[in-house]
Amino acid sequence: MKVSVTVNGNAVAAEVADRTLLVHFLRDVAGLTATNVGCDTSSCGACTVLLDGQSVKSCTVLAAQADGRSVMTVEGLSSDSADGMHPMQRAFRAEHALQCGFCTPGMVMAAVSLLAENPDPTEEQVRSGLEGNLCRCTGYHNIVRAILAAARGGAE
């Protein structure tokens, strides 16, 4: 079937198998490989993107379900600022909130969604807000710091 999705502001359309997962549409059709697949039970959150502004696990959404809708991936967060980074990306770097980087795109998008819904979270709220995002490298300590720093800095 034909699926059209607005990805990071750009229209992406293709004829795909009905069973195509959104994450594969993003990686293989839209050519945006930052979003990763880390599991097959919707557990790890590495595939997290924003669908119409809300964080979702793109491995558990059919491309067909995103047809006509808009998706933002971490590649779409970058800005016109001097370093090209969104405040959340900047905060992740400043706080050493990534090591191997594999969970990072999904983690950043989950973090952006978390602050959009709760701009001034407590540490506990940040931690429970990250339940759906697994990281094996960082122990989450610096990811939590990055999100709290981004919140203090008024990151959108």
Partner: protein, 272 residues
């Protein structure tokens, strides 16, 4: 990791959804948020040949206060339920429990109708709607009908929905007693409940103590007879059929049920 091949159909209205379901019959399943069905399909434990996507049936997304009752469209997401201030005021048990389902990403996609229709006794909302004595509205080729929550959940992944029937609305009478509590006991915050308890007034429902959500009738009888939380909770495991699995054997679950019911009743009492 990838579902077996299927044909995708999209409905924009309830009528269209029912027509498509009738057309494809047994080969078809409804797809709402997809967070119960798609994980099963990805592991190829479910292999429907046709998916009828009802995610665009906006007429089923609503939350209204009708005075004596709250009515909720079946496609209302867990996120919307958890963040609705009206619901937090009128049915805090449901608002709070919806906020505990899965994780934020799951809550953005998962719907109350999808969760109830899936009929998993380990899920949170089935027990909650039993504690709220909800009425579930289903529409099928023969028209609409109402099903009480107590009759809706038949067995493991089996509900009273007939083939081709769509759950459209959940109706909940505003409770007489304001006392409520939701106790969800897990290893990790993200996990399914090992055991859970939902209390609204004198109604007590159990998560994951059988092949369907159960009312703890022994506890309810004791409460009605004037027993306090601890004494009433001693009856928590009566009539249950708790699973033995990696997270605990039946004996442990029965013990947990007693502990959690006692805590839930105490908490509900403090809110009454």
């Amino acid at each position: 990791m990838i579902p077996a091949p299927f044909s995708y159909q999209r409905a924009w209205s309830v009528d269209e959804a029912l027509d498509l379901a009738a057309r494809y019959g047994e080969e078809a399943r409804f797809l709402a948020g997809g967070h119960s069905l798609l994980p099963l399909m990805k592991l190829r434990l479910a292999v429907p040949e046709v998916l009828v996507d009802i995610g665009r049936v906006d007429e089923l997304c609503y939350l209204h206060d009708r005075g004596s009752e709250i009515v909720i469209g079946a496609l209302t997401s867990h996120h919307d339920l958890a963040h609705a201030s009206m619901l937090d005021r009128e049915l805090p048990l449901l608002a709070h429990a919806a906020g505990q389902v899965g994780d934020p990403q799951v809550r953005h996609r998962g719907t109350i109708g999808g969760s109830l229709a899936h009929g998993d006794p380990a899920a949170d909302l089935p027990a909650v709607v039993m504690a709220l004595d909800a009425t579930l509205v289903a529409r099928g080729p023969a028209g609409s009908r109402e099903i009480g929550a107590g009759e809706f959940f038949r067995d493991l992944f089996e509900t009273a929905l007939e083939p081709g029937e769509l759950l459209t609305e959940i109706r909940i009478r505003k409770p007489e007693s304001a006392g409520w509590s939701f106790q969800k006991f897990t290893n990790r915050a993200i996990d399914w409940a090992i055991v859970g308890v939902a209390v609204q007034g004198g109604r007590v429902a159990l998560v994951n103590m059988g092949t369907r959500p159960l009312r703890a009738t022994g506890v309810e009888r004791a409460l009605a007879g004037g027993a306090g939380p601890r004494d009433a909770a001693a009856h928590a495991a009566e009539g249950t059929n708790a699973p033995d699995d990696l997270r605990g054997d039946r004996g442990y679950r029965e013990h947990l049920a007693q502990v959690l019911v006692a805590r839930a009743l105490a908490e509900a009492g403090s809110r009454a």
